[in-house]
Symmetry: D2
Subunit: 414 residues, 4 copies
């Protein structure tokens, strides 16, 4: 093998993103060496940095492996080239070498020009328009035979996240999960953002929506009133949940219980476990949650507030559902698509007490959306980070306490 | 209000099931009084006991409340009557007063005769055949307009579980969840049952099937070889899982990684997170897992073993799935129905490292099926018990260690 | 072997304590049979029940085993006899057959009379006064050579707990641990008790003290202000903690941080991890926490409130301590003894966010003291129950949220 | 304020330790700017790097704050000066400005020469010998009036950890805690190290000792035989534990139970909870564990193996102890000191199933000692990292499974 080399450039917020040493370390770890031929490091926070690195390896295979390994960090092979595309061989099947996306901002090079990839989310493919003038993402199941799909890594670049301007909890950029950190300040920062986003929404900014993804523990643990208030006060525009959150919220309205447990008195009620079934059956008889609210059968609670405030609700079905309630999307791919659509304009995501829905939402969220993951169990935010949603700030507390403190911070008076 | 009274009888294994004092306590707690007019307690384990209790209350409403509260324990109002039925008002909607089942053995009284309810599972309704000669369960979504549905509680009786004959871990009958109990003996007892059930299956007994419900942590944590061996050795007849377990098992076969983490060397691989996507895409291109095994693309691992051994696999989709793999049932109600059907003849259920699938399976299992729930997190078995699957024995350990110890106990040599 | 028999009696609240069927089941499980020769079951809650049971076994060894097994439930062999005593063979060593206590109310029979055992706690011995007129408990390490120690089980009886008169969360008498139960009502019930106990304390009742056992997460997570308020408002009379809770409380006062993490702004402070060391050093230089408060160096927070209100504080040392602070009892046996002494008159125990201190406190508490165990991790209350403190009600939430909600319920306004 | 500047140098493994960008980011975050006047980055792994950075700030206070913040990363103010020292004002009290150590390798400058600080551990002070020719660490409680203690930060430098030569699990240098990573390879790497260290120990290398810090769950969960084998086979030289591990190990020997739970048959034994008390009393009567082994009362298990193999055992007392056993050090400061002494020559630390002992051990370990932390609960390794023991590799599995797999890997045959 003869030694070979390649020149790569690294641009952007390479200091605060810790990218440079990771890249250099990767080169060394994979048996290469390097020269830093240019190092221009921005001396103010808003300036970007620029480095040019000559990477050497004992043979071309190793060199290719190194380049492959450093490209996701944004290292760009200097010999710039257009991305390569291949037609999908069949409906629902991508070309073997399809480029799999991350959830970071991404561009591809077509006809010598860099284009933004629209609708970025992790683990999907990039589809180029027939006239090769635009690019968007496409999930595997939605690809159609003949669609032009980007393959390989050439001509694709991703941008590390810059540090946000706000000096708040979201600016640390690394998932922080600890039950031993004070959470009061996280709640204060989230509240501040929600206040600002409500202002923006009221001014008509379509990109200021707040998403809450929630599990039924919100109701069990006593957070129903606080969440209903947050919806009613206009702080939430999108709700992702399953059959259970909605059913227990409605059960609380119709029977005063949650999972058969009396919310006020704190003990189980004879046959109380049937209440959620009777609730679901009743709403099925009425036809829809909206109808139940319209007819005054359901007056308070989370779902009623969502109906009143026109919140965009996606209820996704699962195999543990009873019923389900009218409006639950039982097909998981259809539900995923509905969530994808509803994410448009979301500028803050609160993932509260649901591992399944939190991970599913994290899969669909661009890395640029500030995200909070709240769970009693510290392994939920860890799981989220393990699956790529590194931007999520973990808060280890119960759903009810979180929502109550958040609502109080925003003006709720019980 | 004038004091009123009603005579109820309690029959069966009321001593080892702790039913009697619960019933008496409930009567007192709800403001009633009682006389024990007959107390015949079996003096050997196999004998049943019999008591007759006169329940008194200050008024008929309270008396009705008491009777309602003690009936789920098997207390039978002496004035026996047929159950009442009502036609379902609409497709997918039950009569308002429908009787909601538990997962205990249940009978209804029709034309003066007690009939077993077939296909018992919790939280569904009881449908009586048009000629009123048989009864089976029906989930809310499957009921059709005009179906005769049992309502109220009269003429319905449930049987508390007797203690099983085997003096093993399943005979304690109360969910035991503790990280501080030795688990070696649980594994030994489970192994003993699996050995016996394999014998029975080989003899042609259709009611000796073993179900494993599993999550992807089985593969991540290093339990793949052990589970594949268990399947190959004929110890497992039914597998419930999601897209993830199958995808990571196949990823391990095609790439040697799981979630991009190299299983052998223990570090992440550049772009390894793409492996499961490429795996899914490849199987989609081939058409099915069965085809991939038939063509020799996939030779080892869990899914290959299942294909070879004719294991009945139900893969249920979820909103966090990539792909999904061919064979995944994306509609949650259809997946639930497929699970329900596959449970026929299951005599032992192992729920390993998946909260969602464990709870979903627990919802469908009769209480008479011995069940083990294995998870690192002690709150998973607790959650299962909270949702009614009280028969599950909790084992707090990681999926891989459990499966490896179990396989070793049954003869696996790495 | 010739069949043998023995008559035992069971008295007391055998219905609501579920004792009778447990006893009968134990007899059967150990190979015996029985006749219920008398069954008088109280028909009102306040009445006690009485049963006489003839126990038969194939041989005298088995009979002895059965009697041994049912005695802890309160089954009393009818042939009543005085307890047996033996002198301790050496300082710190008990007679081989010493009777080990439970934490339930216990009596021994001396000279034909039943005497209450004073200072009951679990896992200690019973010492009889030289004149055999009284009995108290003695830990193994404190026994002196020649002390008269009760041995065996004869002439010892324990009383199952009756259900308390208050119909609140403590009246369910079984450890309830679930992250899926509403905790608002537990907090409301605890608050109600604290209110009543404060009244009683103000009236001069010495047996109305409230104990809080706490870990440092109270400070980390943001519960310091609420706890300081509870102390200041007179709701707490005894505090058990370690070096860490006190050090972080004082660090918060002197530096505004906890574990170096700024409590207000929510980020770590350069060199902040040194703050607790500097805090401890400073208090050591001053001489004591009391002095630091007296001199005005420490004005706010938990420890200052304790000093001001004369709360009885026991700070127990551990091997992970830095410093430690003046006042920390570094000898674990001395600390245990100080805790034991301070428990006198405690009528409510709150164990918050400390496994070690919670278990240690649970070991010393009589079963008659209503106890709440609060932890993010559901396995902490389970561990407590596994070690015998079955009376503890488990609340799965973070320490700060618990204390803040509790304080609000009692009138705290931030 | 006039702008001021200071030149600092960063030397060492600044690439693979990710130090450089952290330093630059810190400068910017605290309002400073910088020029990189020299950047010599080693181009092979074993080469060190060198950078010179001119730091500018608007005023001298801010500059001092920046320098303070970057010094722990090893940034050295170029104007080199000797460290400052001050005498301790009193026994047990440090000078107000004492320098608090990290657990990284550290040097101080005295008379123009850099000296290694001996016995480095986190959160202690540095004491200079009277003749100012050497320096060692001293815990706060042990300082004596007049001892010369290093103050401030000048003349003190710490060295970031270089990446170890072995390319194994310990070379990733960041605490990895995930229940979703395969643990087979961690166990394999640990076994490889233990094999090599046993070789070295046999060759007489005093710095090749292996420490196991363990909790009682080792015995409860079924890991006793495996650990006893590891000790007997010469793989472990130091054992840190509490009263409970030893008591339950001895209980298993004398009664076949652990916490009263029969280890073989998996159910609780009547009065089994007394076994550990009787065990402790019996050993107290005999006088010591060593005596009990010498007399043949105790033959198998962990403690017997330790006695036979001359393992250095430190048993530290705690407030939840019964007894305690002879040999338990009840004073926490004395126990800490015994642990400190026993750590000499430890080259691998296994912290298994004990939060308290793991954190205490972590506090005393230099960062250069490879460390594994094993617990069912992922928050234990997180807690360890939060307290500074960042070098610990987290393994989320139960103690018994870990020890059994480890022993098997090293040749154990059950």
């Amino acid at each position: 093998m003869t030694p070979v080399q390649e020149t790569v450039v690294l641009d952007g917020h390479i200091i605060d993103s810790l990218i440079l040493p990771k890249v250099l370390d990767t080169i060394l770890a994979l048996g290469g060496t390097f020269d830093l031929t240019e190092v221009e490091i921005g001396t103010r926070r808003e300036e970007t940095s620029h480095t040019r690195i000559v990477v050497r390896a004992p043979g071309s295979e190793q060199l290719a492996a190194i380049v492959r390994a450093i490209q996701p960090h944004g290292a760009l092979v200097e010999r710039e080239a257009d991305c390569t595309v291949e037609p999908a061989p069949r409906d629902g099947v991508l070309p073997e070498q399809f480029h799999a996306t991350s959830h970071l901002p991404t561009q591809i090079r077509l006809n010598g020009r860099w284009l933004d990839v629209r609708g970025i989310e992790m683990d999907v493919a990039i589809r180029v328009s027939p006239e090769r003038a635009s690019a968007d993402t496409v999930p595997m199941a939605d690809v159609r035979k003949g669609d032009l799909i980007v393959t390989g890594r050439e001509g694709v670049r991703v941008f590390p996240l810059g540090r946000p301007q706000e000096r708040d909890v979201f600016s640390f950029m690394e998932a922080q999960v600890s039950s031993e950190r004070p959470h009061g300040y996280v709640i204060a920062d989230v509240a501040r953002r929600m206040q600002a986003l409500r202002e923006a929404t009221r001014r008509g900014d379509p990109a200021s929506r707040v998403l809450l993804t929630g599990g039924p523990a919100i109701v069990h643990a006593g957070g129903r009133d606080a969440l209903a208030w947050l919806v009613d006060a206009g702080f939430i525009q999108v709700l992702f949940c399953g059959n259970a959150l909605a059913a227990h919220d409605l059960e609380a309205e119709l029977y005063g219980t949650s999972l058969g447990y009396r919310l006020a008195a704190g003990h189980s009620v004879p046959h109380g476990h049937e209440h959620h079934l009777r609730t679901i059956n009743r709403i099925r008889a009425i036809g829809s949650i909206e109808q139940a609210v319209a007819r005054g059968v359901v007056k308070g609670g989370i779902m009623a507030a969502c109906v009143r405030r026109g919140v965009q609700v996606v209820m996704a079905g699962s195999i543990r559902d009873d019923g389900p309630l009218p409006g639950v999307i039982t097909d998981s791919m259809a539900a995923q698509q509905a969530m994808r659509t509803a994410l448009s304009g979301v500028a803050l995501a609160l993932l509260v007490a649901s591992t399944l829905h939190a991970v599913a939402t994290g899969n669909l969220l661009p890395a640029t959306v500030p995200t909070v993951c709240v769970d009693l169990n510290p392994s939920v935010p860890t799981k989220l980070a393990d699956r790529g949603t590194f931007q999520a700030v973990g808060v280890v507390m119960d759903a009810a306490s979180f929502l109550r403190e958040l609502a109080r911070e925003l003006g709720w008076r019980e």
